[in-house]
């Protein structure tokens, strides 16, 4: 195997990891605020179809990516209104959001089936972006860099910013946070909207970068893997990035091995690997010294309503 192939493989890993990382970062912030939104897949589909439609209409994939965040965040607004405003059950509302996103994206996307658009390609000059080696650094879609920058930003936000501290407090004990005077519902609403925007951006990666096209159910269940990744990473942004890239690497290397005629693993086993790994990690974390209780936000999935 020569270096150029290695570069190519690493690029594929980054492309496989990026949308998962984007969506999972959003969900991580949502979960840190104490909310479980199972609508990631639906929001990704809404983002994917928006990005493609806007890109086709305006000719600008960048605009498409921005628009994907707007519509997906709007969809997450439904979730926020129901779970926060009306204290509805988060699991049921999230599932409904996924059903909604799957349906509405298929309806809205019908006129866009069978055409393609400009790929949201590299932003650096061709001399760097097309160089067989330098492209490892300069040849990615801008979303790849954005995902990594967002990882840093989310890490800093949660760990070092005051707002991040409040958000974690809200997720750990909403009653306590409320009694100190933090606006629990507002914090959670903002977190949910952020999660929606990130899921939308993740969706746009599929319809603008991986395969510049739209077809029903384009994301093929990646939203659920993103949810799994958040748990796999035990709610830490750094581990999340590592996990997304690890997952991307496993998938890519498995396909490379098959393409080289080497793999003997059952494809069904490979397909269930991310989920098995997530369960294994859940068990390992809690079997170790640190209990899972410390990793998972204490209020995850529980509705909050100030009683006074």
């Amino acid at each position: 195997m020569n270096a150029a192939i290695l570069v190519s493989i690493l690029m594929t890993v980054a492309a496989a990891a990026t949308p998962l990382l984007l969506a999972a970062l959003g969900e991580l912030v949502v979960e840190k605020s104490g909310v479980l939104n199972l609508g990631v897949e639906g929001m990704m589909l809404i983002g994917a179809v928006t990005a493609f439609a806007v890109s086709v209409t305006t000719g600008s994939p960048a605009l498409g990516a921005i628009a994907s965040m707007v519509t997906a965040a709007a969809a997450s607004g439904i979730f926020a209104a129901l779970t926060l405003g009306l204290a509805s059950n988060q699991v049921a509302t999230g599932l409904a959001l996924t059903i909604f996103g799957t349906g509405i994206s298929a309806l809205a996307g019908a006129p866009y089936v069978g055409i393609t658009t400009t790929r949201l390609g590299p932003i650096f000059p061709d001399a760097l972006a097309d160089d067989p080696y330098w492209r490892l650094i300069f040849g990615h879609s801008p979303l790849v860099y954005i995902a990594l920058l967002m990882t840093l930003a989310v890490w800093w936000f949660l760990k070092h910013s005051r707002s991040g501290l409040i958000l974690r407090a809200v997720g750990e004990s909403d009653d306590a946070a409320h009694s100190i005077g933090y606006p629990v519902l507002k914090v959670r609403a903002l977190a949910i909207l952020f999660g929606g925007a990130m899921a939308g951006l993740a969706g746009s990666f599929y319809s603008l970068v991986v395969t510049p096209m739209w077809a029903e159910r384009l994301t093929a269940g990646r939203g659920w893997i993103a949810i799994a990744l958040v748990v796999f990473a035990s709610w830490r942004p750094g581990r999340l990035a590592a996990g997304a890239y690890l997952f991307g690497a496993v998938i890519t290397l498995e396909l490379q091995a098959k393409a080289a005629g080497l793999s003997a693993l059952a494809p069904e086993f490979m397909s269930s690997l991310p989920y098995l790994a997530t369960i294994a990690v859940l068990v390992m974390i809690s079997a170790g010294r640190r209990s899972i209780k410390n990793a998972a936000p204490a209020c995850l999935g529980k509705p909050f309503r100030a009683s006074a």
Binding site: L86, I99, G103, E268, F269, S271, S272, L282, S286
Partner: protein
């Protein structure tokens, strides 16, 4: 005038019944408007999906057959939901139940006797229970969130199904297509009404609703489970064990999902194929909520959901409504239901006139555990 929500002392009995009705009616109105705006025949869509099948006797058996597994799974889940145990792995438990039954069917393929079908059904129930036991162990031994673990296991079950139907369980005479042999007559669920599609699973779902209604409403165990849902601290204080509650909820939920799985396999499918899972496990969560976690409500809700599927197909052929529209209808109905639900636990008051009365105890029903 400022409107605000105020917690009720007691959940409103009126609203318990009225809120699902409000949700369904709102869905019809908003759905008709939305689809008219999108350029479809909105009113026609509502008529085709929600009204016409009710007046076409041919469709009734379809509704019952489609509703039976949904009701069965939702009944099991409702027990857990009442106790704040969030098993969303019913899809996987349904698949494993179907697989366990199929395993027995393949072992007894050459045999005959009335014991075969009950053995399959028993295996299905045990299979679903065993699969639900995994998140139960993880929850009680390692405090792993059961929402996440049971969700992950759904995907694993799916791959197990693919592996078995494409590999060891493939019908040797089946032209290498991934599916098992057709079950024999001894392995097939009998029809309870000759000449129709209505199989044994339909009355079983009805009987189960009665049994669960009795258990939940009348027994100490049911009381214990509900107390856990409402006030976990108080329940612990009263000496009730949380782990026992988790186990009971998961095993009943898994067992009934497994039962639904084996009945579908031995009934309408008559074999095992990769197309076996069709999302019943997820739809049943909607059914459980639409039915307000009450056994009889669940029966009604299962029929309403079945209506959207059956009517959705008519709407496709009659007015060319895309199948995706049915999903949008279902999602809207659930959104409105969850929204209308608030009226059960809260009332809308005018802040300027009525000062809030402090309500010490959290409103009852599900999803309010916060004390831990």
């Amino acid at each position: 005038m400022v409107l605000r929500l105020e917690a009720r002392r007691e959940p409103s009995t009126l609203m318990v019944f009225a809120s699902p009705a409000i949700a369904v009616v709102t869905t019809l109105v908003v759905g008709a408007a939305l689809f008219t705006l999108l350029g479809y025949d909105g009113i026609g869509a509502v008529m085709k999906i929600f009204v016409e099948p009710l007046f076409n006797p041919y469709r009734w058996q379809d509704l019952l057959v489609k509703a039976a597994p949904l009701a069965m799974i939702a009944l099991g889940l409702s027990i857990g939901f009442r106790a704040n145990v969030w098993n969303i792995g019913a899809e996987g438990q349904y698949v494993v139940g179907g697989l366990a039954g199929t395993g027995v069917a393949l072992l007894t393929y050459e045999m005959s006797g009335y014991w075969i079908l009950p053995a399959m059904i028993l295996a299905g129930i045990l299979g679903g229970m065993a699969y639900a036991a995994v998140p139960a162990v993880l929850k009680t031994r390692f405090s792993v969130n059961e929402i996440l673990s049971s969700l992950m296991l759904n995907y694993v079950a799916l791959q197990l199904l693919y592996y078995l139907t494409r590999g060891p369980w493939k019908d040797p005479e089946g032209f290498n297509f991934p599916q098992t042999v057709l079950f024999t007559d001894w392995q097939t669920l009998p029809k309870v009404v000759p000449g129709t599609l209505i199989h044994l699973g339909v009355p079983i779902a009805g009987v189960l609703a009665l049994v669960i209604w009795f258990l939940v409403v009348r027994t100490v165990a049911g009381f214990q489970m509900r107390v856990f849902g409402m006030a976990p601290m108080a329940a612990r204080y009263g000496g009730f064990q949380e782990s026992r509650t988790v186990w009971t909820a998961m095993l009943i939920g898994g067992g009934l999902a497994g039962l639904a799985g084996v009945l579908e396999a031995a009934g309408p499918f008559g074999q095992m194929t990769p197309g076996f899972p069709t999302g019943y496990g997820y739809t049943a969560i909607i059914v459980a909520f639409l039915g307000r976690l009450h056994p009889f409500g669940i029966l009604m809700a299962a029929l309403v959901l079945a209506l959207t599927y059956v009517g959705g197909e008519s709407a496709q052929t009659a007015i060319r409504l895309p199948s995706a529209a049915v999903g949008v209808f279902q999602a809207m109905m659930l959104f409105f239901l969850l929204a209308a639900d608030v009226l059960v636990r809260y009332r809308v008051v005018n802040r300027t006139t009525a000062r809030s009365q402090r309500v010490s105890s959290e409103p009852a029903t599900r999803n309010t555990e916060r004390a831990a």
